[in-house]
Amino acid sequence: MTSPVSEQPGAAPANADVAAYAIRLGDDALILSHRLSEWTAHAPQIEEDLALANIALDLLGQARTLLAYGGAFSGRSEDDLAYLREERQFTNLQLTEIENGDFAVTMIRQLLFSCYQHELYRDLESSTDAQLAAIAAKAVKEVSYHVEHASTWVLRLGDGTELSHDRTQAALDAVWPYSHELFVDDELVRRMADSGVGPLPSVLRPAWLGAVQDVLTEATLVLPDDDWQPSGGRNGLHTEGFGYLLAEMQHLHRSHPGAQW
């Protein structure tokens, strides 16, 4: 039985930078959790209804602690951040928001994201920010499972039937461009790196690429060219489908201002 995490973060971030940093990581987890939860009752087999809901729940738990922590700096709750911000205020990576597509798209997206999150959280375990270090230490165990789950499926799909191979290669070609944004260094992460709070994303890429490539090669998939590299999520620039996601997620909460649930 998975129990929801506490809403109380314990402490507020030391400054606005750490708060913004926690919120962007929280946004990644929240939005990918939302996409995964869309699979509920639609998965290829019941084991996957269960597994995808489980991963969505892990990510939601991470999102809640990160948003609660980041929001504490400006007196905003996890729900204020999730439900009352506009599209341009969300700082999640575009990779986390792209639509589910078929099961291959979902699994490729998960492999690319979970391997990134794994490298990131492992580094954050030694963050100078005690709260982020604690959140990462708990989450990294969950993410190890997400990596294993996605890897296993990419292997089966890539090296399964001809049809599944073709679909998975097409999924990889479609999703790969969004992976570049994971490793963009902007001003905020540079300041985070200078103060020892978090790693420069670009530093994580070699280990990430190694891990991802191992799986893709064994799955008989070909790494796409690094041509198109969409980005903008960290600055609140999102894909067109993201507005619909927020409309669905926020509608009920916004229809009853101030209500408790």
């Binding site: 009752a41 087999q45 809901a53 729940l57 939601l60 999102a63 729900d79 009853h256």
Partner: protein, 317 residues
Amino acid sequence: MDTDQQQVAFDALIASDGRVEPRDWMPEGYRKTLIRQIAQHAHSEIIGMQPEGNWITRAPSLRRKAILLAKVQDEAGHGLYLYSAAETLGMSREEMLDLLHAGRQRYSSIFNYPTPTWADVAAIGWLVDGAAITNQVPLTRCSYGPYARAMIRICKEESFHQRQGFESQLQLSNGTPEQHAMAQDAIDRWWWPSLMMFGPPDDDSPNSAQSTAWGIKRFSNDELRQRFVDICVPQAQTLGLTLPDPDLCWNAERGHYDYGVIDWTEFQQVLKGNGPCNRQRIATRRQAHSDGAWVREAAAAYAAKKQAAGATVPVAA
């Protein structure tokens, strides 16, 4: 032992309130009845993910979203657990799903009602899970061992869901006037279908006598229904919500609440496939299954390749 002797041994086991295990001899009728009942139960868990899953992406707080996701995840787990119990009787999960998709095995008709508002999620937790527990607690003493053991674990989780549903309902009832109205509206729609979950009245329940004789069924439909009504009336008072039955009143002589006449025509209509969501639920289920066929085929092909190469492959999970 010949069949007569096996039947005598089986009857003695049932009479002594023993447990029948998968390898034991059992009458064909007993096996078929259990497969039908356990498969229906498993299908209900799986189809039941749809009306509640309908609200995961729209849950009004992250806390409620987490609770709902965990609950729906539990239901998938219950489904798997129950399919496994049914498989011990000799029917594969694949076969059961095919029968569900073909309309030849049933699921609980309660899931053919829609969830148009958030309060429906709370109402399902409080009333539908509440009715399910009332039905299922006696099944923990069912004569078939694997089913009885599955029910012990499932009942624990269901009672957790029921408490969460009650708590959510209480929050709505004590909330804004709009939230209270939403909660009342949901109760108005879910109360009578919940009473129908116990099945037809005793004088119109053809299979009950045999199931009782076999130690599968411990209480009659009407007994369980009465137990549920008696539990719900004080709970509704605590919630500050009104159960939509003007005939509901305490009968001191019986020591139970009297309740109004159930619309069995509606029940029969939903059972026949004419409920608001019958077609949608099955269509969604079939679609998920057919959309996922290439994925399952890929997993099977991959496992076969690895097996041929002499490697051990992790089981699909």
